[in-house]
Amino acid sequence: MALDQSFVGRSYPPTAPYEVGREKIREFAEAIGDANPVYLDAEAAKALGHPEVIAPPTFVFAITFRAAEQVIGDPQLGLDYNRVVHGDQRFAYTRPVRAGDRLAVTSTIEKIKSMAGNDILDIRGEVHDEAGEHVVTAWIKLVARAADEEA
């Protein structure tokens, strides 16, 4: 069943702030095998002009995806998450995420399309810091495969 087009443009309330920890950044950098000192060592980060260790570019996904789950799990939208795959992902940065940031995400449904029985949902997550300054915007495209594919 196609998703309701009237949800396009709908925004959800900003999430409670996520506090970015130094050790969480370290854990993530180690998990992707990236030993760039700018992720691990505040002095190395300062040498490049950052006030604190920064996070790898895709680190913020965990935060924006959690915010997108508000949309995905919205019973009124009625998306069947069991059929969903991650289609596209994109980020546009005003500045890198860094340790100590308290980040809130506002999710908006940007587009809903139906193609060959698949539902395609584009969600934009605007990430702001505690001062209200823009840090990064994340776009996620989710594809819910047609239900009869499994039959």
Binding site: A31, Q89, P96
Partner: protein
């Protein structure tokens, strides 16, 4: 932001040093913990097969993170990345053995933009097949 590559030193077609990234089941378990993505298709073979996959597959976001390293290692400061996007076209299948899979990433400068920015186009393959499409980063150079 302190890129170590100067805008004037690169041209359209300039290749970034290519890299290969091994990924085993242990890598995926670790990434699941670090990223908070515990979808069982990334660690439970039985579940993966039940939902129609050939085997456990890597997190798309893991592949995206590895591909980014070709750009961030080149430019020096990851803070120089202005935009980054990919399409997940094929899964990286990770067998349950000591070798796992290999993600091979190459990249080249595709366009010179204003304000010292360049667009870098990436190619990521595993087992000889492209796993990312439309993989592009915009980077601000020195």
């Amino acid at each position: 932001m302190t890129a170590k590559i100067a805008y004037d030193e690169v041209e359209v077609g300039t290749e970034l040093p290519a890299q290969s990234f091994p990924v085993t089941r242990a890598t995926l378990v670790r990434y699941a913990g670090a990223s908070g993505d515990f979808n069982p298709i990334h660690w439970n073979e039985k579940f993966a097969v039940e939902v129609g996959l050939p085997d456990v597959i890597a997190h798309g976001m893991f592949t995206m993170a590895e591909a980014a390293r070709v750009v961030t290692d080149w430019v020096g400061d990851p803070g120089a990345v202005v935009e980054y996007g990919v399409r997940f076209t094929r899964p990286v299948v990770v067998p349950n053995d000591d070798t796992g899979a290999l993600i091979e990433v190459s990249a080249k400068v595709a366009a010179k933009l204003e304000e010292n920015r360049v667009r870098v186009d990436l190619t990521a393959t595993s087992a000889g097949q492209k796993v990312l499409g439309m993989a592009r980063a915009v980077v601000r150079l020195a």
